[in-house]
Subunit: 487 residues, 2 copies
């Protein structure tokens, strides 16, 4: 099926920020007279750019040893990175990668990323493109920069990755939380806030009389941080319809999308899926619904390769990608060449995109085993059986949130301050028993708004050395919780 | 000699921007109750941060082959980068570097940078510190961010690295050029604008009635881009005295400082200096004069290691470094771990800071040979003997600027438009003869202000493969210039 070319409507362009509208960096290297009519020399010498010749770079050779699967030292893949690539369409090399390079990313890597997006993300139209970023936060920063003038508002899930709020406030933007009350219903398996969002938008002038109508929804649709839940395709369709109706941008932040457990509900563990099975099980991106070019997808290599790369990318309509390119030219320049060199080399050494997807499945499988170990042990704990806690089985990602049923605590009097007081007490019990979490209230956009829904903690299953540590962590969690409720 | 601790005065703090004053990013990981009174578990499990365990990283091992000298494949240095360092104070390793890491830079690398600054730059007081940046432009961006509110002004040398102007305008700042008329006197060997600067500051309200008094001077003191000239220590003392008198910040951008030819005037070539000789010949930094903490030094590894690193650092008073740290937390996060890993490993493999300085001397020596080849060939050209061009012998760096004496051109009528018209014609002669430069007018802060001093071109000697290409480039330059003047 041929997909459509779409053009950004004037409605969407009306959302663009003043700063973005006027941003047009001019580089001195481009200030040259038209030379079309001049007979060119056959072998010109350009003394223009201030690039050092690659002979000045101290690196002669890089040799990388890659793992076939996470945590495995079997079947290592040896790969040497050349000074000068034989096929510069495909390979990155030391000469090119360590030089000043394309602001939007090294062409061979960008080509691989485009292939990956076509194969895995599958946007709904043809006029998309990608641009490399300096990691997920940089991707969000630049995406917000496109739209936010001082005083503009952005919608957030009321619990979210709060460093984004700092980035927004830097631009004079104002965050507005969407209530997530469904996560506190028992046995919630999805992130659903369509009624709350619709109500907020329909009644904006009454509910938020002092605030401008929102330009952007920032969302973490898959393995939402902190709850670990995902939006269903049906939920996304409804949110997208609201975006069309009310004219706002959707920034989908998807660091966890590829750590997907969707097909593994009820512990039906099925490791080592084929690439096709794996891709079919992923929850479709908002970009697969996009008919206007109003969805911006932000990705990172932090979770599927390594955070130290400081490398990610943005998928969006090509006109927006062009604006992001101008922003990068002024705000950051290109991502570093080393990370691009090593990432592109790794993808090639894994056998291209299909091999890279296999690596990602390996990462997902390791997380899945961790997640099941931790959830099983929490569900079978006394704290759970006695109704003190309700662990949320995440559908994606690296976080397990645990609802603390503090209404069952003897000191709970249903006052707003009970939530923070009691949750802080629970945290200190954790310190005593040797297990620490992030407290729900720390991840709220606006604590005063969300206080009565902050009775949960977020546990990261990503950093511990082995699954055994998660067995012990679940045991300590139980002990701390039981002590908290019964002492 | 023990150097003084200094505190930033209220006069200096008055220059800080509104954005910087209110910037105080709070991370959710720090929102925890005080646990001082709690008996701690002896072996706690933290389920807090979203870092992947290093087992998830695909890299098992990195092996780097380093050159002893630029362009040399003799005496290669082999070096293996471990997954886990034996001495984590000194070495960086894959486990740490590929993880989320310190915003200000990896501690072992920062330690090496501090040593380098103490040994080579030698600031005048003790209370300085350093912070890693994502390259020179990022360093300037964040340094300007510290001070510039919309409407604030910054002084620039009238010809400069103009991408910084884009960065400044992004913040609503206004650039004001300082006239550089001395470079057009014959046989100029230094960058001197003290009279023009003093006059501008003394008569600001008359000369610039609509502009605020400047908060910052942005300067490239060594191997100034584009002229290649350097400020003498005496000039710096006078500028610093003006900064004290008029209360402005000096941002010194020093990408070229280590490619220093100062001791080699009159072609007295002396390669392979000792480290002490080399350091003694460097022109002292503005930081060596600083008694108030008003100098910010911006450095990059682009010219002495490789641009693809996207890595540099800033030297400033520690209170300003703290503000820069907060800015990095919101604006960029840490530089990428790969570049830090490989740079720190390279410095160690060269034998620490003294070995690293030897590498830098090797880079300088290669540039020096290039510079002398090009300058000699230009000086001995007909174009030079006939008075058509005056090459500027640079005292540092990778640029040779050539003054085109267009007052000798038959079509020169001393009208403002002659400068651009004739220089564009010369550029096109270059295209015909196979040599291209950056035109002087492209590097002006304000063309209309500087037009009658734009009769020069900038040649980069850095990118060509060998010295021979510079011989050919000088020949073509001569042919193009002679044709331009005589045809």
């Amino acid at each position: 099926m041929t997909k459509a070319e779409i053009q950004l409507s004037s409605e969407i362009l009306s959302l663009v920020s003043d700063k973005t509208k006027v941003r047009n960096p001019v580089h001195f290297r481009d200030c040259i007279p038209n030379a079309d009519h001049i007979k060119k020399h056959s072998n010109p010498i350009a003394l223009t750019g201030g690039m050092p010749n690659h002979g000045f770079f101290p690196i002669e050779n890089l040799h990388v040893t890659l793992k076939e699967k996470p945590f495995s030292s079997n079947n290592l893949i040896e790969s040497s990175i050349p000074t000068i690539a034989k096929d510069s369409q495909l390979q990155t090399d030391i000469k090119t990668s360590l030089q000043y390079s394309e602001t939007g990313g090294l062409p061979p890597l960008i080509k691989q990323i485009r292939q990956f997006v076509s194969r895995v993300v599958k946007p709904n139209y043809n006029s998309w493109d990608v641009i490399a970023s300096l990691g997920g936060s940089d991707g969000i920063n630049k995406s917000l920069e496109l739209f936010i003038n001082p005083g503009d508002t952005v919608l957030f899930e009321e619990f979210t990755f709060t460093p984004i709020i700092n980035i927004l406030k830097e631009k004079g933007g104002i965050p507005v939380p969407i209530t997530l009350k469904e996560i506190f219903l028992k046995n919630t398996t999805e992130l659903n806030y369509i009624n709350e969002l619709e109500n907020l938008l329909e009644n904006w002038s009454t509910l938020k009389p002092d605030l401008k109508f929102p330009k952007v929804l920032y969302t973490i649709p898959s393995g939402h941080n902190p709850t670990g839940l995902s939006q269903t395709l049906d939920h996304k369709k409804k949110v997208y319809a609201l975006a069309e109706k009310f004219n706002f941008i959707i920034i989908e932040d998807e660091p966890y999308a590829y750590l997907n457990y969707k097909s593994f509900q009820n512990n039906k563990i099925e490791l080592n899926q084929s690439n096709d099975e794996y891709i079919n099980d992923l929850i479709p991106s908002y970009t697969t619904l996009d008919t206007s070019g109003r969805v911006i997808r932000v990705e990172t290599f932090s979770k599927i390769f390594a955070p130290g790369l400081r490398l990610g990318y943005i998928v969006a309509h090509k006109d927006l990608i062009n604006k992001l390119l101008k922003a990068s030219e002024v705000l950051t320049k290109s991502p570093n060449g080393y990370s691009q060199l090593i990432l592109n080399n790794a993808i090639l050494s894994y056998g291209g995109i299909e091999g890279w997807i296999k690596w990602i499945i390996g990462v997902r499988d390791s997380y899945l085993t961790r997640k099941n170990t931790f959830i099983d042990n929490l569900l079978n704990s006394n704290a759970s059986k006695k109704g003190y806690i309700t662990p949320i089985d995440p559908s994606c990602g690296m976080f397990v949130s645990i609802i603390i049923n503090i209404e069952n605590h003897p000191n709970f009097k249903n006052k707003p301050e009970d939530y923070k007081d009691l949750m802080d007490q629970l945290y200190l019990k954790g310190v005593e028993y040797g297990v620490t979490f992030v407290l729900g209230h720390a991840m709220s956009v606006d604590y005063s708004y969300s206080s009565s829904r902050t009775n949960f903690v977020r546990a990261a299953i990503s950093y511990v050395e082995t699954d055994d540590v998660l067995v012990e962590a679940a045991k300590r969690t139980n002990d701390a919780v039981v002590d908290f409720f019964e002492s």
